[in-house]
Every structure is written in C-alpha cells, then in structure tokens.
Symmetry: C2
Subunit: 211 residues, 2 copies
C-alpha cells in the first residue's frame, strides 16, 4: 500500500542521497543536516526533508540526520539491504559494455548487499555459454525458466528496437516487475510494471542548450 503512494520522482532521488552519504565517513562526521545534504546533491533542503518524511524518516530539529541510520534506512527502503538479482537481454556492444561496467561497479560496493547481474541472454548461438565479466550468456528461450530459478526481479534490455516489445512481454509474463530499457522504442507497459528509459538522446538534447 505504502509503495503506491510515494511519487516515482521521490524514489528516483533516494539513490543520490545514498551515494552522497556513502562518501562520508560516519566516524568523522556522524551527522548531516538537510542543508549540507542539499549542498552535496543539488536538491533543496526542503525537498530532501519532504522526500524522507514519506518514509517516516525525520532528522533532529536543528541538528540533522544520523548518517549511519539514514544510510541503513535508505538501503532498506530501496531493497538494497538484500541481494537484488538482475538479468540482461541482448549482448551486443551495449550489452557487453554494461556487463563490464556492472562488474566494475560491483567491486566498489562489495561491502554491502545490492544489485547483482546474475544472467545474460542472447539469441546468437555463438554467444551462448560464454562468460562476460563472470556473467554467463544463456539462450533467450531459457529466459522464463531462469527468471523463476534465479529470481531475476530487474531486467536490463539492450536489445534492438524491433524485438524490444516481444522480449519485454516475455519478461513481464515471467514475473519481472522492473526494467531498465536501452532500446529506442516506446513500450506498451501494463499497470504495475516500472520501466526506466535510459535515453541518451534526451540528455544530449538538453546539453545542446549549453553548447
């Protein structure tokens, strides 16, 4: 119930708070004010207090938030206090880059639970059975079975635009609830499914303003 009520834009900001907090040594700086957190994230202190209050997290008036507690709370809210199993479909250049990138990031966060890429899928028989950065590539027809067996709850789509909807539908039917989609296509998304579009074009177009 609670999950329905929190706006997606609020959820999207939580990882940023978490990242900033991770850069601070709580032994040296045990407490952070919403003002300082605002300075470091570029989000206004009022917005930060409002975002955190959605989850019943409040700082001490005139003091701030205890960093260790706030980090633990954010991890718990984002389900990052346990392992979240991620799959990837489409091991072309982008898929391969992502697997290597993911491996690099996982090393950085080894000291806590979190996101782990457990399996990759491709239709090219040449690629089946290969490992990239420790992740095995399986045939796409095995997807429904492996989604269930490996408990994949997030899927990264790095497939060509032409097959994206079909792959997406298969994953949804298999029980995946959250997607990071790199295919430049507008997916038909059923209710209850969350899709983030990794859209470089929008980012580049807004950069053109500053060019």
């Amino acid at each position: 119930m609670r999950k329905r009520k929190v706006p997606d834009v609020v959820i999207n900001r939580l990882p940023l708070y978490l990242r900033v907090l991770a850069e601070i040594d709580p032994e040296q700086t045990p407490i952070i004010s919403s003002y300082e957190l605002g300075e470091r994230t570029g989000i206004t202190p009022g917005q930060i207090r409002k975002d955190l209050s959605f989850f019943g997290v409040f700082g001490k008036q005139g003091v701030g938030y205890e960093i260790t507690t706030l980090r633990a709370e954010l991890c718990r809210i984002l389900n990052l206090d346990r392992v979240v199993n991620v799959g990837l479909v489409g091991v072309g250049n982008l898929g391969e880059a992502f697997l290597r990138y993911g491996a690099g990031r996982q090393k950085e966060v080894l000291n806590r639970e979190g996101l782990v890429i457990k399996a990759a899928f491709d239709q090219d028989e040449q690629k089946i059975g290969r490992h990239i950065a420790g992740v095995e590539i399986f045939p796409v027809w095995q997807m429904p079975e492996l989604i269930a067996r490996l408990k994949l709850t997030i899927m990264i789509l790095t497939v060509p635009a032409g097959v994206a909807q079909e792959v997406f539908d298969t994953c949804v039917a298999g029980g995946v609830k959250a997607f990071l989609n790199f295919a430049p296509v507008k997916l038909k998304i059923p209710a209850g499914i969350r899709v983030h579009h990794a859209d470089f074009t929008l980012q580049l177009e807004s950069l053109a303003y500053y060019s």
Copy 2:
C-alpha cells in the same frame, strides 16, 4: 544573461516536451493544452506552464499551445534549429555502441537539424582511421586541433575512469562547454561547464524499489 537564470532541471525537461510534440501530427491536432501535454509527459500542467514561461512562451488561455510554433520555439531554445557538432572519446564497447545508437537515432530525425556526431577519438592505434557508423576515429592527440576545426561543442566521454579527468580537462581547454560522461568517476568541473552523468547505477538502484 538569460541562460544563467533558467534552472537546469527546467532545461532537462524541454527535450521531453519536444519529443511528445514530435509524436503529434499538427495537421490533425494543431493545438495542445498544458493538461494534455502533462498527461503525455507525466509532468504537471502547472510545471509545464511555468517551465515554458521562462522563455516567454505562453499558451492561449483556455485553449493551449499551437504545436508547430511550440516545437519551433523549443528547437530554437535548445539550439536544435542548427547543427550541433558532437565528439566522442573512448571507442571501447560502450563508445562503439553509442556511435551505432547515435547513427540509428540520426536517421529518425533527418527532417530537422540537430545533434551530429562528427568525430571519435581513441588512443589505440589499431582503431585510428576506422569508421563506425560513418564516424571516423582519430588519435587523442589530435583532439585539441579537431575540436576547433570541426567546432565540437558537446563531448561524450566513454573512457575508462582512470583517464576521464585528464581527457575532460583537455576538452575543456579546447573549448568544449558541455559533456555527457559515462565514466564512473566524480570529475572536477570548472564554472561554466555543464556535465551530465549517464549513471546506470542510480537508475538501477531506484528500480530496486519496485523489484
């Protein structure tokens, strides 16, 4: 002067408005209300009206915005009514994926001016002189000269984290004002330079909430 006053978050939303407008045939639907634009973008009508008012763009009370005019205005504001020359540094898996992705997108927007990737750079001699999706790969030492000659105003950084700052500094010295950075590193950014971080980790972490 004007550019300084518009918040970056507003600029970041303009390409989304432009995309939604591009999907509508102005012959059939010449006018759109901020309410409809809100429905299609997920941004509140009030926010949309406020965003556009920064640029002196106002809809007709009780009617809305003329789509053709609004598209032209947004293109002009974002500098997309002319060619914006883009460079890319680091032709690994991700860089190569980006070049191919960019080429696909450019075909879609052939009927207007906009972002064009003009040159790629790498330090691997094996790659120099190759073309990917029509874009030539040059040695990194030629970067300062080519930034000036090809008027590259946006640079995409798909380099390893270890060299990102050095490459960034070279581009800034060469006159590049806007960056899309894929390297998982916190860059030291001088005033007046705009950097967007394409950070998959943050996107994945917020997806974990829905997993």
